[in-house]
């Protein structure tokens, strides 16, 4: 263990360098998954997982504290934001006189997204909740180790 720590910097050079390129790519990929979910395999849940993996990779290469620093908010607070989005997307139709959580569509052919509606907002909420949950759990555990 001792020797490993001494060599930490050296060991991680490759990992860090590759992470610098991989992180934005993975995040982009997760957003891609999120948006295409309505038509092709993907969706908020998988997208959120992929994004969390990206951040976990970053925290491995550097340290959890530095990963948290990248956010301006703690991952813990991403959870309520996501939940709120889910809930609001459900409430949205009630403003228009439909029952709670019925699908509402605003535009049919948005570039790259396709149909834009309450379902997408809901998916974004799920995406955020998943990121928040995974990162909160992982970072809390790693802080304790």
């Amino acid at each position: 263990m001792e020797r490993n720590r001494n060599n930490e910097r050296l060991d991680k050079t490759i990992l860090r360098t590759s992470t610098n390129y991989l992180l934005p790519l993975l995040i982009l990929f997760s957003i891609f998954l999120l948006i295409r979910g309505h038509y092709l395999p993907g969706g908020g849940f998988v997208g959120g997982l992929v994004a969390s993996i990206a951040f976990v990779l970053h925290s491995f290469a550097y340290s959890p504290t530095q990963t948290v620093k990248m956010f301006s908010i703690k991952p813990f607070f991403v959870i309520p934001t996501g939940l709120m989005l889910c809930f609001l997307s459900g409430m949205l139709p009630t403003l228009l006189g439909y029952p709670f959580m019925s699908g509402v569509w605003f535009a049919d052919n948005v570039v790259a997204i396709g149909a834009f509606g309450s379902a997408l907002i809901f998916d974004v909420g799920v995406y955020m909740v998943v990121i928040g949950v995974v990162l909160t759990i992982l970072f809390t555990i790693s802080e304790n180790t």
Binding site: L33, G37, H38, Y39, L40, P41, G42, G43, G44, F45, V46, L49, V50, S52, I53, V56, F60, F76, I79, P80, G82, L83, C86, F87, G90, M101, G103, W105, D108, G114, A115, G117, A119, F122, D123, G125, V126, V129, V130, G132, V133, V134, T136, I137, L138, T140, I141, S142, E143, N144, T145
Partner: protein, 773 residues
Amino acid sequence: MLLPIIVTFLLAFLMLLLKPQKILRLFKFVCVVPLLLFLYLITYLPAVYQGTKSILFKNEWIPSLGISLDFKIDGLSMLFGLMITGIGTLIYLYAAEYLKRDENIHRFYCYLTLFMGAMLGVVLSDNLITLFIFWELTSISSFFLIGYNTDQEASRKSALWALSLTGLGGFLMLAAFALIGIVAGTYSLNELLAYPDVLLNNEYYYIIIFLLFAGAFTKSAQFPFHFWLPGAMKAPTPVSAYLHSATMVKAGIYILARFSPILGGDTVWNDTLMIVGGITMVMGAVLSVFHKDMKGLLAYSTISALGIIVFLIGIGTETALYAACTFILVHALYKATLFLITGIVDHATHTRDLSVLRGLRKVMPVIAIAGFIAALSSAGIPFTFGFLSKELIYGVSTDGIWTQESIFVLTGIALLTNIFLTSSGFLAGIRPFFGKLPKEFEKIKKPNFYLWFPPVLLSALTLLFGIVPSIVDQSILKSATISVLGTSTQMYLSLWHGFNLVLLLSAITIVLGILLYFAIKPSSRNESRLKGLDDFSPQTILTSIALGIRWFAFRYTRFFHNGYLRVYIMFIVIFFTGIVGYKLFADVPLRVNTEDLSAFRIYEFTVFVITIIAIYFITSTTSRLTSIAALGVIGYSICLIFVFYGAPDLAMTQFAIDTLTVVLFVLVLFKLPPFLKFTNKKIQFRDGVISVCFGILISLITLQALVSPSEKDVSKFYADNAYVLAKGKNVVNVILVDFRGFDTMIETIVLSIAAVGVYSILKYKTQDGEKSE
């Protein structure tokens, strides 16, 4: 009627906002709340005056379950409602002065107001379920009031006893209510009163009444559940005066009286009430005179008085019920007075010891007069209200429905109880004020208005009702009796019945009671003699039962919750295998249809071999990292299988999840001590058997699932409508975010709760560690 009760509850919580340090005076005005309620109830008095009709306030709540917030005012509700709010007003006034140095007085008023609202709810509810809710609220709020002095262990313990006993009783009573609802098909008291025979002739009748008795007896401190009441005297005196003499303990009486026209009439009902009430009234009265603590004495005489009322309801004749209703009011008036006086004496002298307190009439003459009147009323001396009720109680035995022997028995125990109650009333209301004033009490200041006014007003009413009974008997007592009896009554209170047996009995009671008063000297010796009885008391028995339960719970928890994750998993797997396996073999014809299975393809075979190798590594390795990596391999193999069978969504999710799981394991791994070998051959064999059974079971279930025809309609609907209704081509995702979006939303909430759980558990531990450092 709904509005005043809701407002009462809201006001209770608003009390918490009052800062005691700044606006202490304000609490003297809080008594406006019960006063307004009192006046509000008074306005309905003319309507129920004749006793024949009741006013119903309908409010729907959960109509599908038959639960409503209906309220009903009839004579009985009115009697209790007026007592609760009327005596409540005086208690509010009194407590503002009594607790003025208490920094938590705002909490006290919150609890007290909650209690008052709940109590009003109990006596006014028409729906049994609503009644039960309010009933429980009285138990809960009284828990806080009894345990108000949170720094005293005795006080906390008594609060817990009171809550456990009344809570247990309430639970059984809920069962009674549920049975009534099933049998009669309604929870409405009003409808039950209309068709009483439905319950009387039912096979569940005896179960219902005994469950109901359990609730009423625990609340009203009947033998053998009486012991929580003396313990509850640890509460501040205004609470004892309000809850434990005038109102809460009478809730059980209210239930019995309320159900008397519905469930009464059977000999079991009458006999049980007479026996339990009889035992309670004699026991309470006899025990009361041996106490030297004023509150202890009053507690036992209250138990006795409650016993008398239960006894009278048990007799159930017209005279008996009239006597019961009258005695409820008589007792509330004189007992509240005695409690309030005790509080004043305690406040001034800092002792409630009857062997020390003497001659206080010189320093607090007004209080002495109030105590004197209350004592006379409890003894039943003419021209006090107590005289009238005592005449009625003796009148019951001369009703003419009894055999010669039972008259003797009834009169005998009534006489015995009244003699002892007379002297205990004298001990509490007269003894502290007469005799020679000890030197240390000479400099006591006179109590101020807020303290002396409530008991004096109550004793004045005792006197007034005693001299002019027509004020109360026609207006309220008669209509209350009618609601208990179910039919109209011609009874009335009168001061003079002529020279007859009843008068003679009253005279004997008073003479013997006074003799007993002079014979008994309150001393520590008497109290210590009572302590000897404790070994046989119900409290000791119940305590040992409670300890037994705790012992069992401890053992049970140790066995199942021993802190080893591997044992937890083993229990879960065994239990699952057992229960699902039983269901599978017992209920389903086991068929394995091999014809529909497709043949092994080469890449499936490869994945299968990889999985087997990974499993071998997991079970045989001594390195944690190896086993985790192997676990990851299994996860990815399953991903591949998903891919082969055309489920890319599942495969992606599984892939991501597996990656994260391995990461999580690795993170935790660093914390664990080095790999140790705990197992021996025996354990390995056991675990092997368990896992093989579990594996076989899961495989069988999977094969079985293939055989049974699956419902294709649902999946066809989703596939057909995903694009039409939800504009999505990925059916899985459309189901997740649209068709079953509600489920997904709940699942996100579950996930968040898990994260909060992990966060709080681990953070809590770190903070703990920091403290210890």
